[in-house]
């Protein structure tokens, strides 16, 4: 059984169908790219997995259970924007994560922050956008979770920060966990993915292993994506 399952999952906002009858099963031990253009339903899907939105129809299951307080214990979520109160000092953010999540490895987070040279007394607000993204990712990856849901982890950062973020993901995810990375910046992440799910207008249009696409089509996933979503 997968750690992350969708069964005939549908989400409508009034007359707009954001997620349209999706069936999905993601196994532990894999890094999966959730790839689609802006407005394709990526964030809606991830928000439902976190219980931030309720399905209109169908089911979404985390470790076999509906999203709840219990599933939040095993899901580490990186929202697509800064979600920490920005008045917090770094040490307070660490306390905050420690209080909320039993699986938070504070020593690991502190070590990663120390290596970045981040002053524990600095507030989130005082940090640059790139540093804020790194800090939030460090907190999220320092949990020993079973499912990591990373919504646009590399959106709007410079190439060096992007490399740092990608390396932090590879080095720190729990081997028995699944990692779902939602992005439209495919070229930057495709080498670290096991498989990709292409989503468009709330539907899954393709799901395959990265190397199977490269082998079968003789092109990168990025090039294939451009072909599939040609405007």
């Amino acid at each position: 059984m997968g750690i992350f399952e969708c069964k005939a999952l549908t989400k409508r906002y009034g007359s707009l169908t954001a997620i349209d009858n999706i069936d999905l099963d993601i196994e532990p031990g894999h890094i999966v790219g959730l790839l689609g253009p802006n407005g394709s339903g990526k964030t809606t899907l991830i928000k439902m997995a976190n219980g931030l939105l309720a399905p209109t129809a169908g089911q979404i299951l985390i470790g076999g259970e509906k999203p709840s307080v219990a599933t939040k214990k095993i899901v580490s979520y990186l929202p697509d924007r800064m979600a920490l109160p920005t008045w917090m000092k770094m040490t307070q953010a660490l306390d905050f994560f420690g209080d909320f999540y039993e699986d938070f490895d504070r020593a690991m987070a502190e070590e990663l922050l120390r290596r970045l040279g981040i002053d524990p007394g600095q507030t989130i607000k005082q940090m640059s956008k790139g540093t804020q993204e790194k800090v939030q990712l460090i907190l999220v990856m320092s949990r020993r979770a079973q499912l990591y849901l990373l919504d646009e982890p590399i959106g709007g950062v410079d190439p060096a920060t992007r490399d740092y973020i990608i390396n932090t993901i590879i080095n720190n995810y729990n081997e028995n966990a699944a990692v779902v990375i939602s992005t439209h910046l495919i070229a930057d992440v495709e080498n670290i993915l096991d498989e990709v799910i292409f989503i468009n207008s709330g539907r899954i249009v393709c799901r395959d292993a990265v190397d199977a696409i490269r082998e079968g089509r003789g092109m990168s996933v990025d090039a294939y994506f451009r072909e599939v979503f040609k405007c």
């Binding site: 031990g29 894999h30 890094i31 490399d163 990608i166 390396n167 590879i170 080095n171 081997e175 080498n191 670290i192 993915l193 096991d194 990265v210 190397d211 490269r214 082998e215 003789g218 092109m219 990168s220 990025d222 090039a223």
Partner: protein
């Protein structure tokens, strides 16, 4: 070691070639211990499962071997490394010759260009 990947080939196949080349050039000497899957995956910026797959393939070919507790090592069989070197050199040459043929270079021209290049006489042939 610089890791660069071509867009039109599977990543695992490129990892295999990359590691094989590192063994041939002595960057990973015979009998030496290799970094862990995750370390090397992180260095290369690739998925650890893909790196594992490349390692598995190289183990099946006998270039690498695993010792349960100690880790993963390069073979000490220098003959096997030599054979691999010959195979890879042959494949690279075949690619080169195919490219030259496509440009309309005949056998004599190819041989002459290679000789000139290796003598360092020709320095204005760069594109």
């Amino acid at each position: 070691m610089v890791w660069k990947f071509k867009a039109d080939q599977p990543i695992y196949a490129q990892l295999i070639e990359h590691i094989a080349l590192a063994v041939i050039t002595g960057e990973f000497p015979p009998g030496s211990r290799l970094p862990s899957v995750r370390e090397l995956a992180s260095e290369a910026g690739v998925n650890p499962n893909t790196m594992q797959r490349a390692f598995g393939e190289l183990e099946r070919e006998g270039l690498l071997f695993t010792q349960r507790t100690a880790g993963r090592f390069v073979t000490e069989d220098t003959e096997a490394i030599g054979a691999l070197r010959a195979r890879l050199a042959g494949a690279k040459t075949a690619d080169f010759v195919a490219d030259m043929r496509r440009m309309g270079c005949g056998r004599e021209e190819v041989v002459r260009l290679v000789e000139e290049n290796m003598r360092g006489e020709k320095d204005n042939g760069d594109l």
